[in-house]
């Protein structure tokens, strides 16, 4: 395997000041399957997009068969026989498979019948099962994916990139796909498969390259790898978390969620009979594979989603009255005296306004105060400056638009504001995603502080180690259902992992 099909050297790509790839080297040989492994946001897709001509690298060189090339458009990539199958398919729904495959090809003349025959031959060669005359909108996800792969092959791709191809497939479909990929490998094609599922990497690939935070970590032969080695490469050296965790004091039931059902816009049920209680003075963690209903659950509580069944009860510590938050708008919830703070997952799209400065973002929660028709910027300014100082927000001044801040500083601004409202319930969705260690710890400490102040904290996280070390109790969701509530102090990662995948058999996918 001495002849590399693709060689990347020193590839760097930045979006504004976010560095997606930094000095990445990568080599793919002919007739091999290379897995690219990395966590969310580690820069896998960006890297592949540069090979397929969607992005152009800021720095670095790309070699195909030892010759330096310049890929500035998908057409260039195609000319170099590189094909990519994206996570989101790029097919025309009302066309059939054949029409989609020949779309955009300049074959001299348009002969759909001849093309269909040629496509059928390609399919037979690798064992694809598709009906070339079926319209895309009639197809299942797996069929669509097959069309995408055949399209790439038909266009002559020798180097095939698949971006998380198994994410949308059932185990049986995955096996079928892998069989095809193996046949293609025997045919001398180079296959790059992006994934973060370890067992798949071990099953299908010849070699594994690992990216972490945009950087290239290393490549090992799959035969020499096992799950723990790969995990370590992926997440880096084990960090002893050592998050302080105090014993909950004076806990009372603050928020009681009972049998909540929710349907999304497409009419698919995303929350099924969710019940739990959040207590004051404790941190309730919510664990689950991303997209299992965490976001919808928090939004339902915040009054942003209209639940179809169940109730959300709030015990007001001031009046000792119980309010039902069902069918209430955020405004109505606020007017009931419910002090609910919410750090949403989408910081700049929901929690903050990117184009506004820190002061104006402080005002989001408080601008209504007072009878004047004009807004009052003095207090927000003071608050902004306090947060900048207390939380060590790195910013030129309080008048800087928050979109110019780095991710960690954005989060500090958001969390700072939500805490400043002195809530009784604080919900935080993935508050440390994308943050460096120091910032993450600051957030953990803030959450702990709130807990000690008697706030009922709900923490949605993805890092199980953190959940286990930070939370008093952990609620596990899977496919929109609660699959278990465990004590944080006794929880084991394996146990949580099991609960997180428990409901998978039933699947919650709307595509099916």
């Amino acid at each position: 395997m001495a002849n590399p099909a693709i060689e990347l050297k020193g590839i760097t790509k930045a979006f504004g000041h976010i560095i997606a790839n930094e000095n990445v080297d990568l080599t793919v040989f002919r007739g091999e399957i290379l897995a690219i492994l990395g966590e969310n946001g580690s820069g896998k897709t960006t890297l592949m997009n540069m090979i397929s001509g969607i992005y152009y690298p800021d720095e670095g060189h790309i070699f195909i068969d030892g010759k330096e090339v310049n890929i500035s458009s998908p057409k260039d990539a195609l000319d170099l026989k590189i094909g990519m199958i994206h996570q989101h398919f790029k097919l025309v729904d009302v066309f059939n498979a054949t029409e989609n495959i020949v779309l955009g090809l300049d074959e001299g003349k348009y002969d759909i019948k001849a093309s269909a025959k040629k496509i059928q031959e390609t399919c037979d060669r690798y064992g694809f099962e598709i009906d070339v005359n079926k319209k895309i909108y009639e197809m299942s996800v797996s069929e669509k994916q097959t069309v995408e792969i055949v399209k790439a092959l038909y266009k002559g791709a020798d180097i095939l990139i698949l971006d998380e191809p198994t994410a949308v497939l059932t185990p049986q479909e995955t096996q079928k796909l892998f069989n095809v990929l193996r046949k293609m490998r025997e045919d001398g094609k180079s296959i790059i498969i992006i994934t973060h599922k370890l067992h798949e990497v071990l099953e299908i690939s010849d070699r594994v390259s690992v990216l972490r935070k945009g950087k290239y970590i290393g490549t090992i032969n799959t035969a020499e790898a096992n799950e723990s080695i790969l995990t370590e490469m992926m997440v880096g050296e084990k960090i002893s978390l050592d998050i302080e965790r105090s014993e909950p004091k004076d806990t009372t039931d603050r928020l009681i969620v009972k049998g909540v059902d929710l349907y999304n816009k497409e009419g698919v049920q995303v929350l099924k009979d969710i019940s739990f209680t959040a207590k004051s003075g404790e941190i309730l963690g919510i664990a689950g594979i991303s997209g299992s209903g965490q976001r919808e659950l928090l939004e339902s509580i915040a009054g942003l989603q209209k639940i179809s069944g169940g109730e959300i009860l709030y015990n007001n510590p001031k009046t000792n009255e119980t309010e039902n938050l069902k069918d209430k708008t955020p405004m109505q919830i606020r007017n009931l005296g419910v002090r609910l703070s919410f750090v949403p997952e989408d910081r700049l799209g929901m929690g903050l306004v990117g184009n506004m400065d820190i002061i104006d973002n402080m005002m989001l929660r408080s601008y209504r105060k007072g009878k004047s028709v004009f807004v009052e910027r003095k207090q927000p300014k003071a608050l902004a400056e306090k947060i900048i100082e207390d939380l060590q927000v790195v910013t030129p001044d309080a008048k800087t638009p928050v979109r110019r801040l780095s991710g960690g500083n954005v989060q500090k601004v958001l969390v700072g504001r939500e805490i400043a409202a002195s809530p009784t319930v604080l919900m935080a969705a993935y508050p440390v995603r994308g943050l460096d260690i120091n910032s993450s710890y600051m957030i953990y400490n803030l959450l702990n502080e709130q807990k000690e102040n008697g706030v009922a904290v709900i923490f949605v996280g993805e890092d199980l180690d953190v959940l286990i070390e930070l939370c008093d109790r952990i609620l596990v969701v899977c496919g929109g259902r609660v699959t278990g509530i465990v004590n944080g102090r006794e929880a084991k990662k394996e146990e949580l992992g099991l609960l997180m995948t428990k409901g998978n058999a039933k699947g919650g996918k709307s595509d099916e």
């Binding site: 979006f15 990117g354 004009f374």
Partner: protein
């Protein structure tokens, strides 16, 4: 470089993280200069005229005489007024391209008051009736698409655009009904003798009152957008509807309220055009200002104070260009080409303010 085998793209484009104010203005001014040079080439190629004399003509056409200066100011005021009207909606990212129709309907209300009540009410009462009814008329015309947007999420761009044509047809109809002489389809100057419902001349300048009103409106709109709670809500809704919902802003209410403001300002523009300027109504009364205002507002980044500059720029170009076509006996389309090119360059400069061109030097490193 000579051994370079690989075809390199000449350059590629990256987004700028930040740019200083001085530099961004430098880019803008440079773009105007480049536009002028480019236009000069076009002028020579197409007409053979001396570009310098064309530009001198342009300048004189806009501000060559006292009358032209007043006329320029008046036109700036009118365009600015409509631009102020569309701005609150634009800040909300509600693409109201129906200002033309909203102005016309406001003007129609003014006309109706002048014709039907003109000689029946004392002047102060008449003026109040004119303002109130025109504001209401403009607001209603804007309210209709706003309600459809808020409740059924219809496409406001198409909706407001279509409302323009309806407004034009309604005006055409009334232009026939009220035409003098009957059947001619033209209303002619209303109350030419009594001048009932006309703006008075202030300090012997008949346009001064218009200009003052628009100046006051500019400040009011600026304050409304920047310092009022409404203005803040508009900004939040415009930037992120999700954020607005998250902090409990009733987005529908804000859409409707803001469009009412937009429409009301258009109604005022209608009064200024009919009572304050033309003293008549045709379907050309708005004269495309409803559309030009979009450019004005956009170029000024929806800032009312900057809009004074951008509307001045556009009116200056228009007036100058008309003079070019008159003096050199060119078709009006030619002056539109010149104006278009200059505006294109100015808009294009925003790209260079937001993005940076990176010229490739990869080859040199080898």
């Amino acid at each position: 470089m000579s051994n370079e085998k690989v075809k390199e793209p000449f350059m590629h484009i990256t987004k700028r993280a930040d740019i200083s104010r001085g530099k961004s203005w430098l880019i803008r001014i440079a773009s105007i200069l480049v536009a002028l040079v480019f236009c000069a080439v076009i002028i020579v190629l197409l007409t053979g005229e001396n570009p310098l004399s064309v530009y001198v003509t342009m300048f004189k056409g806009a501000v060559g005489t006292t009358r032209r200066i007043w006329s320029l100011l008046q036109n700036v005021a009118m365009l600015l007024c409509v631009s102020l009207a569309v701005t609150p909606a634009f800040r909300m990212k509600f693409w109201n391209i129906g200002a033309e129709g909203q102005v016309l309907i406001g003007g129609l209300a003014t006309t109706a008051c002048m014709i039907l009540l003109g000689n029946k009410l004392p002047t102060p009462v008449l003026m109040i009736v004119i303002f109130v009814s025109s504001i209401i008329a403009g607001a209603i015309w804007a309210l209709i698409p706003a309600i459809f947007k808020a409740i059924w999420n219809t496409n406001e761009t198409l909706f407001t655009l279509m409302m323009n044509y309806i407004a034009m047809q309604i005006v055409s109809y009334f232009a026939y009904v009220w035409s003098v002489p009957k059947g001619s389809g033209a209303i002619g100057v209303i109350n030419p003798n009594t001048q009932a419902g006309w703006f008075p001349s202030v300090l012997n300048q008949k346009y001064l009152l218009n200009i003052v009103i628009v100046a006051v409106l500019t400040v009011i709109v600026y304050i409304y957008l920047k310092y009022s709670k409404h203005g803040y809500e508009i900004a939040v809704v415009g930037e992120s509807e999700n954020t607005a919902k998250y902090i409990g802003i009733n987005v529908k209410k804000v859409i409707i309220r803001t469009m009412l403001v937009s429409g009301a300002l258009c109604g005022i523009a209608g009064v200024l055009l009919v009572s304050g300027t033309d003293h008549t109504l045709t379907k050309d009364t708005a004269a495309g200002r409803g559309f030009t205002a979009i450019i004005v507002s956009w170029l000024a980044k929806f800032n009312p104070i900057y809009m004074v500059l951008t509307s001045l720029l556009i009116v200056f170009l228009q007036k100058g260009a008309v003079e070019i076509s008159s003096k050199f006996e060119l078709n009006d389309s030619f002056s539109d080409i010149i104006t278009g090119i200059i505006i294109f360059f100015i808009i294009g400069s925003e790209f260079f303010i937001n993005y940076k061109l990176n010229f490739n030097k990869k080859g040199e490193n080898k």
